[in-house]
Symmetry: C2
């Protein structure tokens, strides 16, 4: 599964102005609507695009504090801990990792004081041995995908040059 240049441009376009729709996207890319639609369908059914869910800002929801917690888990308690963390709304994300911790999770809270509550909630569970928390101060690079898409498209491009400007159609 790779993406070519047109896929990349389409993704970029949608990432920057998601509301434009297929028709407008096809216009801007200079391709037929059917092409844009087919590409989009392929990207979606191929799993490259997971969906178009709204990106919600936790801060605007009243949760301006973000933190990352590294958790050390008691052997064999993994499943229980996962289930526990999944039940906490303030846990936005959970990964199991190699390295010095066993799990890494992203938390949000209403305030620094509230973060204490959340952390207690998270780590106050039997299977968790130890937790170390890093509070986020700044977010110089918010979650992004365009640069990677660009690179992926460029890489595929080297492998599969694609058609060279169909003269007519």
């Amino acid at each position: 599964m790779g993406i070519d240049r047109l896929d990349g441009q389409l993704l970029e376009l949608l990432a920057e102005e998601p509301r434009i729709g297929v028709l407008e996207a096809s216009r801007r890319l200079g391709v037929a609507r059917g092409t844009a639609q087919a590409r989009l369908d392929r990207l979606t059914s191929g799993g490259v695009i997971r969906g178009f869910g709204p990106e919600v800002d936790p801060a605007a929801l009243g949760y301006p504090v973000t933190a990352f917690a590294t958790l050390e888990i008691k052997q064999g308690q993994g499943a229980d801990v996962r289930a526990h963390l999944a039940s906490v709304p303030e846990v936005l994300e959970l990964h199991t990792t190699t390295g010095m911790g066993d799990m890494l999770c992203r938390l949000v809270a209403r305030s620094n004081a509230d973060l204490q509550r959340v952390i207690d909630l998270v780590v106050g569970f039997d299977g968790i041995v130890r937790a170390s928390t890093a509070i986020v101060m700044e977010n110089p690079v918010p979650l992004r995908i365009v640069p990677l898409v660009r690179q992926a498209a460029r890489d595929s491009d080297t492998v599969r040059p694609g058609r060279t400007t169909p003269t007519t159609g």
Copy 2:
């Protein structure tokens, strides 16, 4: 900025089936289209909804390996390091944090071997003193927002009960 129950339901609906559009959403929520539209506009302009960009799966792009790197930065080199990391496509996210590291970043790579290249690229920069990397094995809780939205809506509900089912209209 808070959200009431209707806002919450709208967000949930859009999070689960983003393609439905305002009209269909209003139908499912049992409200007038104008209401759904107004709520959506308010959520968007109020910053609760950042956008509707496509969620791209890095794995499907050829980057199945995810890792988190904790970086220790030389005093006064923060800005340079930020700029450097921002220029690396494989850096999907970067935070400055309290705690034992100074920065935490999310990386992706084409393979474990490729991860070495990415890490070298990331940490091979003057301002970075030390880096420790945790490779993601599983992702039991993918980035999610619905549970938090639900809680936020419930909380606001307590504070502001909202209108109690307008009889007619």
